[in-house]
C-alpha cells in the first residue's frame, strides 16, 4: 500500500511528514536508550529481510496481489521504537532506489506503515499474549500482523480522503476489505517467520509499555 506521488495534496503530505518526523525523532531517542552497538547488526538484517520479503507479492482474490508489510514482525521481535526505524529504512530505500512509494508521500507511508502499524501491532501483540490461553503466543502474532495491515489501510484511506482524491465513504470499505484478505497472508507469513528470525537475531521483545500510538496525531 505504498502511496505514489499524486495521490496526496500538499497539506496532507506536509502534515503526515511532520507527524512521522516527530515520531521517528522520538523513536531514535528511545532506540538510543534501549540498544547498544551489539544490537546494530540484528536491526540491519531485520530491515534487509523485510525488504526482500516485501518483494514477494502473493495473489489475493482475482487480479489482486498483496505482500508482507513486516511491521508486526519487526515490532514483535524488536519493540515498536526499533521497528519504526527498521520499517522507515525499508520505505526510504524503496522510495529512493526503486520508485516504490512517491517521494512526496514518503512521510505518509512512514506514518502509516512504519509508525502506526508497528505501534498498534506491538500493543495488540502484548495485549493478546497477556491473556495466556493455550496458543496465545501464535494468536498474538497472527492478530497483531492482521491488524497492522488494517491500520495502514485505514490511515491510507483517511489521507486519500483528506487530500480530496476520493471520498472517504467510497474508499474505506474496499480498502479495508482487500486488506483484510491481504492481512491473512501477513498473519501466516509473520507466524512462519517470527520463530526463525527470533532464533538468530537479538532484540528487545515487543513490549508496549508507555508507547503512545504515535500515528494518531494526523
Amino acid at each position: 500500500m505504498h502511496i505514489p506521488d499524486g495521490f496526496l495534496d500538499a497539506k496532507t503530505a506536509v502534515a503526515t511528514s511532520a507527524a512521522s518526523l516527530a515520531a521517528l525523532k522520538y523513536s531514535m531517542t528511545k532506540v538510543k536508550e534501549e540498544l547498544g552497538e551489539r544490537d546494530v547488526p540484528s536491526l540491519g538484517v531485520m530491515a534487509a529481510f523485510i525488504f526482500a520479503a516485501q518483494m514477494v507479492n502473493f495473489p489475493v482474490m482475482a487480479g489482486t496481489s498483496g505482500h508482507l508489510l513486516g511491521a508486526a514482525l519487526a515490532a514483535i521481535l524488536f519493540g515498536p521504537y526499533s521497528a519504526s526505524l527498521i520499517l522507515s529504512a525499508v520505505l526510504i530505500v524503496q522510495c529512493l532506489f526503486f520508485q516504490d512509494g512517491g517521494i512526496t508521500a514518503l512521510g505518509a507511508n512512514i506514518l502509516n506503515m512504519a509508525v502506526a502499524a508497528t505501534f498498534v501491532a506491538s500493543c495488540v501483540y502484548s495485549a493478546v499474549k497477556k491473556l495466556k490461553f493455550s496458543g496465545s503466543e501464535i494468536a498474538a502474532v497472527f492478530l497483531s500482523a492482521w491488524i497492522s495491515v488494517l491500520v495502514g489501510a485505514f490511515l491510507t484511506s483517511v489521507e486519500l480522503a483528506l487530500s480530496g482524491t476520493v471520498p472517504l465513504n467510497a474508499v474505506i470499505a474496499p480498502m479495508m476489505l482487500v486488506h483484510a484478505v491481504i492481512g491473512i497472508g501477513e498473519g501466516i507469513i509473520t507466524c512462519a517467520a517470527v520463530g526463525y528470525v527470533r532464533r538468530f537475531l537479538d532484540g528487545k521483545s515487543g513490549a508496549c509499555a508507555n508507547s503512545e500510538a504515535g500515528g494518531e496525531t494526523n
Binding site: E37, M46, A47
Partner: protein, 91 residues
C-alpha cells in the same frame, strides 16, 4: 559465522529466487485506485532518478534475472542503510 548471517542468507535467497516469481497483479491500494478511477493520478512520479524503478535493472532484458538482481541489490542497500542509521544513533 555470526548468527544474524542466517537471516541475511534467507533474505538474499528470497530476493534472488522468490521475488522473480512474485504475483504481477496490482496490490490492494492499486486495485482500489483502479476500481474507483483515481489510479491515473499516481502515474507521474515527482522524482525520476531511481536507478531501478519497479524493481528492474534497465540493462538486463531477462525479466526474472532483472528482478532478482534488483532484489539482491536492494536487500544489501537496505542492510547497509539500516545498519548505518542504527549504528549512528546507538553510539
Amino acid at each position: 559465522m555470526k548468527r544474524w548471517a542466517m537471516v541475511l542468507l534467507l533474505a538474499l535467497v528470497i530476493a534472488a529466487f522468490l521475488s522473480p516469481f512474485a504475483s504481477p497483479h496490482p496490490d490492494g491500494l492499486e486495485r482500489v485506485a483502479e476500481d474507483l478511477g483515481f489510479l491515473k493520478k499516481g502515474e507521474s512520479p515527482v522524482l525520476r532518478f531511481s536507478p531501478m524503478p519497479d524493481y528492474t535493472v534497465a540493462t538486463i532484458n531477462d525479466e526474472r534475472v532483472s528482478t532478482a538482481l534488483a532484489g539482491v541489490t536492494g536487500t544489501l542497500i537496505t542492510l547497509a542503510f539500516a545498519w548505518g542509521w542504527t549504528k549512528l544513533i546507538s553510539k
